[in-house]
């Protein structure tokens, strides 16, 4: 047959149909001895249950990491992970960091210079000098 097909696969557009939260796992590490973990311990007692309930898509793990600063480690769907050390922060500041990680996509931080990034071609088209009025051969 004159027409043969090319094998391509469709590209995902997260949010166009269903939205899948990119943060899939968060691990909270605390320490019972270190003073830097005071805020974290308070966060785990007072804020974490509500945070976990509000974000059922995230698998949350809490584990002690003795004699180390407290950290929040989050894993994303693109396979990358982000770690924030929350030493000496207050519990509300730690909540802010947790929300920051939750809202992140896992991509490396990059500077955005263009106002629009899209998979679709431009609606108005790219300029062509050959398609103007009265272009005579």
């Amino acid at each position: 047959m004159p027409v043969t097909p090319l094998r391509l696969i469709s590209k995902s557009q997260n949010g166009v149909g269903a939205f899948v939260l990119q943060c899939k796992r968060m691990e909270f590490n605390y320490c019972d001895w270190a003073g830097s973990s005071k805020g974290m311990n308070s966060f785990l007692k007072h804020h974490l249950p509500k945070f976990a309930k509000a974000n059922p898509q995230i698998e949350i793990t809490v584990s002690p990491r003795p004699h180390k600063h407290p950290i929040i480690r989050s894993e994303y769907i693109n396979g990358r992970e982000k770690v924030i050390c929350v030493r000496n922060l207050e519990h509300n500041q730690i909540l802010q960091k947790a929300e920051l990680l939750r809202n992140s996509s896992g991509l490396k931080l990059r500077r955005v210079t263009k106002p629009v990034s899209s998979m679709n071609e431009s609606v108005r088209g790219i300029f062509s000098p050959f398609h103007g009025t009265g272009y005579a051969i």
Binding site: S10, Q13, I60, I137
Partner: protein, 348 residues
């Protein structure tokens, strides 16, 4: 058109896995509270032994979905209805290569999910692009619901796989046993899918099983919505699937068949003819009507592009009113306008 069987008759696919806490028969409960002497006489009628699942005394963690944190997270990430139990999701994650027993694997769910996804993708493409050539239609369906596409979808759902399908694995991980290195995957899967599987194959089957679960637990309209949101929302440029070999010949056969005037290529614009970077814009006319336009660095290239664009303009026709045939599945008296049916491909 065969109607998809309603929910009640498909329950046989979801015969429950042997979980004593959930599937406890009345006889077990009685035995625990009553005395051992009297219990034998009190056992109510149980179904015949072949139909009752064999109850295991201890459950491996991978068969205990309630102990996994990943499963409720996946359930919430996909926004599944509370009617969809965690247990079905856990079963969808077990490939036949991980377990011999059909009751614990996703084999039946995969079959159902494959039918559903294949049907919905095909009907959408056939109604949206009625003139698409058959091979291109197959490629487009494969681009939406083929193994590679569904495997990619599964990864985007955040599903991880276990290295080995052992008993202590988390129930939220995809469990399958891998093929030995150096084995040709296609041949091995064709020979015996239960011996081992590739990650792509297992992931695609998992996604199909999830679809099947949505159909079984949430119903037909929920399945369609799930399909639209997760599969049809993906971007596929159908025009990029074409690969023409003799477009000018095909176009002239098409015009002859349809009774159009024979196509003539005319130069619309040009610049730099004898320079290093010429640009030619050629239009293909049928009579006085422009049917396709193409540009190129040479006259031939521009003419061929124009023919290709003319053919794409024909094949990618999309009718303004699109009624999917499955519309009639939901309500018998839905107004259904039959899809446009094309005479067929151009015989060159």
């Amino acid at each position: 058109m065969k109607r998809i069987r309603n929910l009640t008759s498909v329950n046989s696919l979801l015969r429950p896995a042997a979980v004593p806490a959930i599937n406890a028969s009345p006889s077990l409960l009685l035995r625990s509270s009553a005395s051992t002497v009297a219990s034998a006489a009190e056992i109510p009628e149980t179904p015949s032994p072949e139909l009752q699942p064999q109850l295991l005394s201890t459950l491996p963690p991978s068969r205990n979905p309630l102990a996994s944190a990943k499963l409720p997270a996946l359930h919430a990430r996909l926004n599944l209805h509370p009617n969809y139990p965690i247990q079905t999701l856990a079963r969808a994650l077990v490939d036949p290569s991980a377990d011999k027993d059909l009751r614990f694997t996703n084999q039946n769910l995969t079959t159902l999910g494959n039918t559903l996804t294949g049907y919905y993708a095909a009907e959408y493409l056939m109604v949206t692009y009625p003139r698409l050539p058959t091979e291109v239609l197959y490629a487009a369906v494969s681009a939406y619901v083929g193994n590679k596409a569904l495997a990619s979808l599964g990864r985007e759902w955040g599903i991880e796989s276990a290295f080995e399908p052992t008993a202590d694995v988390d129930a939220g991980l995809l469990q399958f046993s891998r093929l030995a290195p150096g084995v040709d995957p296609k041949a091995a899967l064709h020979r015996d899918p239960n011996a081992g599987s590739t990650l792509e194959h297992a992931m695609a089957n998992l996604v199909r099983s999830v679809f099947a679960g949505v159909y079984l637990h949430e119903g037909l309209s929920a399945t369609k919505q799930f399909f639209r949101q997760h599969v049809l929302s993906r971007k596929l440029d159908v025009d990029k699937l074409f690969d023409f070999t003799q477009p000018t010949r095909e176009l002239s056969r098409l015009c002859a068949r349809e009774g159009f005037e024979p196509p003539v290529a005319r130069l619309l614009a040009e610049t730099g003819r004898h320079s290093r970077h010429p640009v030619f814009v050629v239009g293909v006319y049928s009579g006085s009507e422009l049917i396709g336009e193409g540009h190129g660095g040479s006259l031939d290239e521009a003419r061929i592009r124009a023919a290709v664009n003319a053919l794409k303009g024909w094949y990618l026709y999309s009718p303004p009113e699109k009624d999917l045939p499955s519309k009639t599945e939901e309500s018998r008296d839905a107004k259904f306008k039959p899809a446009y049916i094309d005479p067929g491909e151009v015989i060159v």
